[in-house]
Symmetry: C2
Subunit: 355 residues, 2 copies
């Protein structure tokens, strides 16, 4: 074990004690006026310097530069907010199910940072109503300029937004599947099904995710549309909730004669549940039934059989969603990252249809 660690924790606690006792004598942060005095200019000149260094004599500029770094000056953003009436803060509303939000969060927060915003993250366990309520509460404080909701909100929430000041972008509500709706782009599902058809599959089963999510709705819609278009058989499009249990139950409750030769699950967790149910029924995957997932969950790559899935560039997805929020707020149009955001990865869980 690493000895340094104990030392570290102690130091942190000392740090705290120091602060407690020194609170009164704590060295205050330098202000714009002190910088001005040291540089021999007025505070207004320093204020100009802070926002844009244009329009200042090179000499003045150098003197302020020196003063700033000597005092280690950092502008007080609270005071700035107060005067400008802009907080530069955004909020992200996070779902607590469905997928690991870490990478998506990373993409979103980085994009916000680059756009000069700081981000408050709120994750809400509970139903759509609770989440919406919490969102309205946050909007009501006037502390944030915009909210990015990565989880479904109640219909009609806009009517309760106070003062029309806070902008809410909810990519998951865009069923048009473009731009900020990338989250709900179900086209890889079509690719999966067409691939399975090439393998000779004709009879499918879909286990959907929580249909409050646009992505779940889009996948289900794409499934039904593809069944129709290619004239396939469907053993059903079962409503689920992104859980392994929903996948297990959907397969488990199917009568023998109704079994499909391919299961298209809404995500990898559901797929894992479905595979287990198939195995428990004594069926071989992919020998007798093929299964596909979505999200490229790391564990599912090590499943026996390794799961065919859709690799999703969650980081870019998060970034794009945030960029669209920033665009709504500031009008600035930042360029989204290039490249495809979703890609089918064929693995062992899919194969030729059993006859």
């Amino acid at each position: 074990m690493n000895d340094h660690s104990c030392v570290k924790m102690k130091t942190a606690i000392i740090e705290r004690k120091k602060r407690m006792t020194e609170r009164s004598t704590a060295t205050r942060r330098p202000t714009i006026k002190e910088v001005a005095r040291l540089a021999g200019v007025s505070h207004q000149t320093v204020s100009r310097y802070l926002r844009s260094r244009n329009g200042l004599k090179p000499d003045t500029l150098a003197r302020i530069d020196a003063a700033v770094s000597e005092l280690n000056y950092r502008p007080n953003l609270v005071a700035r907010s107060m005067r400008t009436r802009r907080t530069g803060r955004l909020a992200i509303l996070l779902p607590t199910v469905a997928f690991n939000p870490a990478r998506m969060l990373h993409g979103a927060t980085e994009a916000a940072h680059e756009g000069g915003f700081s981000v408050e993250v709120v994750s809400v366990i509970g139903d759509t109503g609770t989440r919406t309520e919490r969102m309205l509460e946050i909007a009501g404080t006037g502390q944030v300029e915009g909210i990015l909701a990565l989880a479904p909100l109640s219909p009609g929430f806009e009517d309760h937004l106070p003062h029309g000041e806070t902008i809410v972008v909810a990519p998951d509500f865009d069923d048009e599947m473009r731009g900020i709706g990338e989250l709900a782009d179900a086209s890889p599902l079509v690719e999966l099904m067409e691939g399975l058809v090439e393998f000779g599959h004709r009879r499918f089963l879909h286990v959907a995710g929580n249909l409050q999510f646009a992505s779940a709705r889009a996948r289900k819609a794409a499934y039904l549309e593809t069944i129709e278009r290619l004239g396939l058989e469907s053993a059903g499009a079962v409503d689920g909730d992104w859980s392994g249990k929903s996948g297990y139950d959907a397969v488990h409750s199917l009568p023998d004669e109704a079994l499909p030769t391919a299961v298209v699950a809404a995500n990898d967790v559901v797929a894992a549940g479905a595979i287990r149910a198939l195995i428990d029924r004594g069926l071989d995957v992919p020998g007798q039934v093929s299964v596909t997932g979505w999200d490229n969950n790391e564990v599912c790559q090590y499943l026996p059989p390794a799961l065919t899935s859709v690799e999703v560039d969650l980081e870019s997805l998060g970034r794009n969603a945030m960029l669209s929020l920033i665009k709504s707020i500031s009008g600035r149009d930042l360029e989204p990252p290039p490249g495809p955001l979703q890609r089918v990865v064929w693995r062992e869980s899919t194969g030729p249809a059993h006859r």
Copy 2:
């Protein structure tokens, strides 16, 4: 597909347009003075009312109550921050690997909310150095009163904290395994190993997580200590990085004669990798080798065989970590949630030792 959704998106965009054009004529938020005027009292009286309603005549109180709700008044927190020199904001530094942070984040943000703080979340991809740098940058802005680091930081980071104003709590650095060090409590690992010994296992293998994490160090230490204490054989304690690949490689590279009868993995993903490597070598789990994980990953419950793991109450863990930060800052001692935070769940991947 749900028709409501399109409507919703359009409304959101309308909301935005409205704001753009109305920016000038936007109704300003009411201030404390307007409330005072409407209630027929001084602004100071309203200020008192806002912080504690004690010490006001019932009559006055009722009048202010009425004025507040009539104007729909909400205090301007920026102005308050400015005067009190307290921002009421905390930051959480998130790792982007190792585990799904959603529930932990939820626990932490809820606790902060209850304590009257708002939370900024920052997730940093990259090495410890990058993360530490970013943390110091955040501390330097003076915008946050404290930082909760759920990912490892570079040793000696405290020396670079500016002004000693921002408190940093890094539970992961506490190797004492108590209080805020619950994250690193490895005692369930001992329980796992003792259970395996009862099953007749004598020869073990440990695949560790990223040793920059205290939890990984604690588990490895507990493993080695238990081997020693019970006089068992160890096929090694391989250093890993929380990835499935590290689990797969660790087992894959072992010579036949060095194989253990039980693999204790640092987490479920590593365990899944290890199981796959065992299967690929033609070994049966748990028939020939038992495997344990950690985190109770949902997918792993549907693995064939369902993985024996450690259920972790991530929400409470996150809450506790946040409570300790709040305690450091405000001295307030909020009660942590009761109950055990980690619990061994025996499933199919463990069984009697093969002889």
